[in-house]
């Protein structure tokens, strides 16, 4: 599969990478409803509750991509 096993610093090998802590960010961002359960500040007529969570879909995807590239061989 890979010819560079000697100088690989693969997260999958050790099972852990500090990059994984980035994932905690997206969990915390959405697991506290009191923070975002409001209409204001609204954007384009959309209440905060809705655009905040949709935004975190995008941010979460970006964070996952970062972790992927940072930990991939």
């Amino acid at each position: 599969m890979s010819q560079q096993s000697s100088n690989r610093q693969s997260a999958s090998r050790s099972g852990w990478s500090w990059w994984y802590l980035l994932f905690v960010v997206q969990f915390i961002a959405v697991l506290w409803p009191p923070f975002y359960n409001s209409v204001e500040p609204s954007w384009a007529g959309i209440p905060f509750y809705y655009w905040y969570q949709m935004l975190w879909v995008i941010i979460g995807a970006v964070l996952t991509a970062i972790v992927y590239f940072a930990t991939e061989d």
């Binding site: 999958s12 099972g15 409803p33 359960n37 409001s38 509750y49 879909v57 995807a61 996952t64």
Partner: protein, 513 residues
């Protein structure tokens, strides 16, 4: 059948005809010997990143999702949006845990999660518990896909009494059964590509065209009753709907990839890389899911609930009729045909994968484990094909003869059941620390508590846990899996001390590349 929407129906039938052909043609795609269970049941583990994206997406975003999530938003409002944090949380779980499962299953030719548990923990009864849980949780889910199909068929005006009413569903079932039998997992994988194109087209048209028709998002949100627009602030001494929202999202996220059909989609990939890449790409579907929840609000704003032409549909299908009604109201007939075909095909794809997953489980972990210990490859594949057929037939009979609400209850219960496999499967890929019998007892306790709480909550998924004068209403699945884990943690040192050696057919190196 006086009010049939012929334009929509013709386009619907044409698209269905196309995917029927595709389902059979798929047998030739990345050709393999379909008399081997691995080829039939896992597509030969050959699917690259892009196909895996379609297959896993086809698993996760089902017809039931497209109908039921907006229906919940239409009926109950803001709480339906739990689907968004839920999808935000599933991808880190996919990213971290499932490449490991993929590697160990690839190394040892495991086809099902129960195969893995059997090898990892060496306990056939624990594996049986995982198997039965998987099969029981999957069955109502298949039935619910057929409900999604039923709703759009009814929305096109196709009706009748008695047998005639069920005929379209039966035809769809026969098509599904036939191409699954002949092509195995390749069939839904190929059709998932068509399905996604149609679903994305429909979803984007819906979120662009409909808001324009309705006068913008400001007007749409203004039409939603204030009580439904946001979550209700909890009263004193209770976490109220905040707790329900959070636990529903987290519990559903943990449970999702434990379903056999999710694992089947993952194990069919050709590498751990494909899975990790997908964890970064699949959030595209999440965005669409959020948009779909909003479509429920569009339906409120458009007032389809009050329109006389949809009264019969709402009467028959309840809030599940919200999306079809909105599509009928907002789009010309030819697009309605495309949109409904998207939903209908969106029912067949997961139904196919789910029936294959259930068949794989039975064949490997019940039949081969307990009945015929040494089948030939061909016997194994034949058994799986037959079981897949029986499972679909069972779902069809269920939907025809049993009230839909029952299927919904069973599916909610299914989530509570499947999460009990979390310690063995999700944690099992990281550590062998747990004692296998302790895991089995934990599973039994979690499952019993889950069923009890489900019944106590009037067949609802949320239970008002109460102590110290406070109430914590929340998703039963999350509460019971915590109980399951506590039991397993407490019993592990105890059972280990009582003797019994740790069997593990896997090695640490098997879990990564």
């Amino acid at each position: 059948m006086q009010d049939v929407n012929w334009t929509a129906l013709i386009i619907f039938v044409l698209l269905f005809g196309f995917i029927t052909w595709l389902g059979f043609a798929a047998a030739q795609w990345r050709k393999g010997d379909l008399d081997q269970l691995q080829e039939w049941g896992l597509g030969g583990r050959r699917f690259g990143t892009i196909v895996t994206w379609f297959l896993v997406g086809g698993d996760l975003y089902t017809a039931y999702t497209f109908i039921a999530v907006p229906a919940l938003a239409f009926g109950a409002g803001a709480i339906a949006f739990f689907a968004v944090p839920y999808t935000i949380m599933i991808y880190p779980i996919l990213f971290l845990v499932f490449p490991r499962l993929w590697h160990v299953c690839h190394k040892h030719n495991y086809i099902t999660p129960a195969d893995f548990v059997r090898g990892r923990f060496g306990n056939r009864w624990l594996a049986l518990a995982v198997t039965i849980t998987g099969i029981v949780a999957t069955m109502p889910y298949i039935a619910l896909q057929l409900v999604g199909l039923q709703v759009v068929i009814g929305a096109m005006g196709v009706s009748g009494t008695g047998f005639a009413a069920d005929l379209p569903l039966i035809i769809a079932f026969v098509i599904l059964a036939a191409f699954t039998y002949s092509s195995g997992l390749r069939a839904p994988a190929s059709i998932a590509i068509v399905k996604d194109i149609l679903i994305y087209t429909t979803a984007f048209a819906a979120v662009i065209v409909v808001p324009i028709e309705l006068g913008g998002f400001g007007k749409i949100f203004a039409a939603v009753p204030p009580a439904k627009l946001l979550l209700a602030v909890p009263g004193a001494n209770t976490t109220g709907v905040y707790g329900v929202y959070t636990t529903l999202a987290l519990g559903s996220a943990l449970a999702l990839f434990l379903y056999p059909h999710s694992i089947t989609g993952i194990l069919a990939a050709n590498s751990g890389h494909a899975i990790r890449r997908n964890a970064a790409m699949l959030p595209g579907y999440s965005f669409m899911l959020g948009l779909l929840a909003l479509v429920g609000f569009f339906a409120i704003a458009a007032g389809v609930g009050a329109m006389p032409e949809f009264a019969a549909g709402f009467k028959q299908f309840g809030n599940n009729f919200a999306v079809p009604a909105l599509i009928l109201h907002s789009f010309p007939s030819w697009f309605v045909g495309i949109a409904f075909a998207a939903v209908g095909i969106g029912a067949l794809v997961p139904a196919a994968i789910m029936s294959i997953a259930a068949a794989n489980l039975y064949t490997r972990n019940i039949h081969r484990e307990f009945i015929n210990k040494d089948p030939t490859d061909k016997q194994e594949a034949q058994m799986a094909k037959l079981v897949s057929l029986i499972v679909k037939l069972g779902a069809l009979i269920f939907i025809i003869f049993v009230p839909t609400q029952f299927a919904i209850y069973l599916q909610l219960l299914g989530g509570i059941l499947i999460i009990q496999t979390l310690p063995s499967v999700l944690i099992g890929v990281y550590t062998r620390w747990f004692n296998d019998w302790a895991l089995l007892v934990g599973w039994a306790v979690g499952t019993s508590a889950g069923v009890w709480m489900f019944v106590a909550a009037n067949l609802g998924p949320n239970y008002p846990l109460a102590f110290a004068g406070h109430t914590f209403p929340g998703y039963t699945a999350l509460y019971t899996v915590v109980l399951n884990l506590i039991v397993a943690i407490v019993l592990t040192p105890l059972f280990n001390a009582m003797g019994g050696k740790q069997v593990d057919a896997t090695a640490a190196a098997d879990y990564h590349a």
